[in-house]
């Protein structure tokens, strides 16, 4: 198991290195620079500013400087938000992004699995149709449509919840978390439903029923693992979807998280900030993929023995 994790970490590290390198050069190759938008700066001032951020150095030296910074966990100063380092910006935004993202994952998993199981066990019942409806809505209606619609309804018309921002504690979190969880509830419930139906058809479940140990115990001990394995495998990619979603969520609900920072930074060519957030997202994604692999290996002895 340790070797397995080690190997995955090594592969993940390589992917992360490739991601960061690619991001670095793509950013630099893209037209425009961090200070090209400012209208009236004299060439000397511009040169001074660029020198301060080492933008006058050859590209490979800038890259070397960046890598050296990463190794010291120092991501450098932001070019757009003067007087703030990238570390500061991430430290201020990450808690909001993480809080919303984690709650969304937890709720999506619990609700999705529950809906999927209920649908599979009572096929063609009212619950099954309800789950199907939630699935269809969650998959077909994009976050950036359902988000504003909920805002308009629950915040502007009914005035139950804040429109956005983070000023009202947990009440501010309700709408963003629900909207972010919705598409994942849809995927997870669909996945759970088909997986459960397939598992129920398996021969070993028939063996368990033949043992006369009671339906409850058959479900609990003989179908749950098989059903949840594909769901757990999906949680890795789901995190990626949550990251994508959180960028939208933070835009729609005006949450000062790192997702909104990322879009701003990319549009304004804030190189250090883009690099820092890319690195962070990449690392989160890779670590979660490894974590899901480990959980799967713990649950499925066949995966464990494979490597």
């Amino acid at each position: 198991m340790l070797r397995f994790v080690g190997k995955r970490l090594w592969h993940g590290g390589l992917t992360l290195a490739a991601l960061v390198t690619l991001t670095f050069f793509v950013m630099r190759l893209a037209p425009g620079g961090p200070f090209s938008r400012n209208r009236k700066i004299s060439p000397e001032v511009q040169a001074n500013i660029e020198a301060a951020f080492h933008l006058d150095e050859p590209l490979w030296m800038q890259f070397g400087r960046f890598v050296w910074g990463v190794l010291r966990l120092d991501l450098g100063p932001s070019t757009r938000h003067r007087d703030y380092s990238v570390n500061d910006l991430i430290a201020s935004g990450l808690p909001y992004s993480l809080t919303i993202g984690l709650w969304a994952v937890v709720i999506a998993t619990l609700v999705g699995v529950a809906l999927g199981l209920a649908g599979a066990l009572r096929r063609n019942s009212a619950t099954d149709y309800l789950a199907g409806l939630v699935g269809v809505i969650g998959i077909a209606i994009p976050i950036f449509v359902i988000g504003p619609v909920l805002q308009a309804t629950f915040a502007l018309r009914l005035d139950w919840l804040p429109v956005g921002g983070i000023g009202e504690g947990w009440r501010s979190l309700i709408l963003p978390v629900i909207v972010l969880a919705l598409p994942n509830i849809a995927y997870i419930s669909r996945l759970t439903r088909t997986s459960m139906i397939e598992t129920l058809r398996e021969n070993h479940v028939r063996t368990a029923r033949a043992k006369g140990i009671g339906w409850r115990r058959v479900l609990w001990r003989h179908t749950l693992t098989g059903t949840l394995l594909p769901v757990i495998a999906y949680l890795g990619p789901a995190t990626a979807a949550i990251i994508t979603g959180s960028i939208l969520i933070e835009t729609i609900f005006a949450v000062p998280g790192i997702g909104r920072h990322f879009v701003d930074a990319a549009l304004n060519r804030d190189y250090p900030l883009v690099m820092g957030i890319t690195l962070l997202y990449g690392a989160i994604l890779i670590l979660l993929n490894i974590a899901t692999d480990v959980i799967r290996a713990i649950l499925d002895p066949r995966i464990r023995n494979e490597r």
Partner: protein
């Protein structure tokens, strides 16, 4: 001597699958609705005496009263909302279908070559896919659309570049098993070259898989386009797309929800139809899957 040895999906099989699809009421209804929306988007604007970019200064922010000519009213520049939404639909639908087609073709060829070649070539090709898969999708697509300089073409290229991976992986798995089949080995023994085998034997035999997954690509591309346009990275004003119309609708939702609901509703309806069609295709081609 070799082209005719392939048991490519015979006409009868395809016909059977088509019949199965046609019996699926939800999927058939979706096809009809989708066709109507496409026709409306591409033909509808001709019925109006103005385009979506013409401002009518006498009717600024006119409400939706279903009266001619501004059926659903105008936005705060006096541009007709319905026409803008239909024109935005042209952009979103074109990018969606074209993008899915291009991404699908690239993915299928890549996967077919990797799966057929096997060995070291396959290893290298799939390692690349694996690395790209490891990238957070948003970061990649945002960076790429910046790299290509913004605008419609850049957007298109970025979306295609991020979405060909899944068809590649799926087709590769199928090509791998096809490469072991007797008729492929017979073709090889008969002196057929690698590229010819890929094009004549591997790809045609992946057709059903490709159709099923290709149909899932279309909504994904449309979603990506509107997502980026919503964030202000994709299609820009004054050109309309569903993404930036929804964005504009969000900004105005405090006073007027119709700016949000019209493009948003249409987008949701299209995505819904495409998903039902994809489901129907999967059931028709692969009835054991359920």
């Amino acid at each position: 001597m070799s082209a005719d040895v392939a048991p490519a999906p015979g006409v009868s099989t395809l016909r059977l699958q088509a019949r199965r699809f046609r019996r699926n009421r939800l999927a058939m209804a979706s096809v009809v609705v989708l066709a109507l929306i496409v026709a409306l988007c591409f033909l509808g604007p001709y019925a109006f005496p103005f385009t979506g970019e013409d401002a009518d200064f006498d009717n600024i922010s006119a409400p939706a009263r279903l009266t001619w000519p501004h059926l659903f009213g105008t936005d705060d520049f006096g541009r007709d909302l319905l026409v803008r939404v239909l024109e935005g639909g042209q952009v979103s639908l074109t990018i969606g279908f074209l993008g899915a087609l291009v991404a699908g073709v690239i993915g299928v060829l890549y996967g077919a070559v990797a799966g057929y070649a096997g060995g070291r070539t396959d290893g290298v090709m799939m390692r690349l896919v694996e690395v790209l898969y490891g990238f957070p999708y948003v970061i990649l697509v945002i960076l790429l659309s910046l790299l290509f300089g913004g605008g419609n073409v850049a957007l298109f290229a970025a979306i295609v570049f991020t979405l060909w991976l899944t068809p590649a992986v799926i087709v590769r798995a199928q090509a791998q098993s096809l490469a072991q089949k007797e008729f492929v080995q017979a073709a090889r023994a008969g002196g057929m070259t690698g590229p010819a085998i890929v094009v004549q034997h591997i790809v045609p035999n992946c057709v059903s898989t490709v159709i099923v997954y290709g149909s899932l690509l279309v909504p994904e591309v449309i979603l990506s386009e509107s997502f980026l346009s919503f964030l202000g990275i994709g299609i820009r004003e004054p050109q309309a797309s569903w993404g930036n119309l929804i964005q504009a609708g969000t900004a105005a939702m405090g006073s007027d929800l119709r700016l949000l609901l019209l493009p948003g509703g249409l987008l949701a309806l299209v995505l819904l139809c495409l998903n039902f069609i994809a489901d129907g295709l999967r059931d028709a081609f692969d009835p054991n899957d359920r």
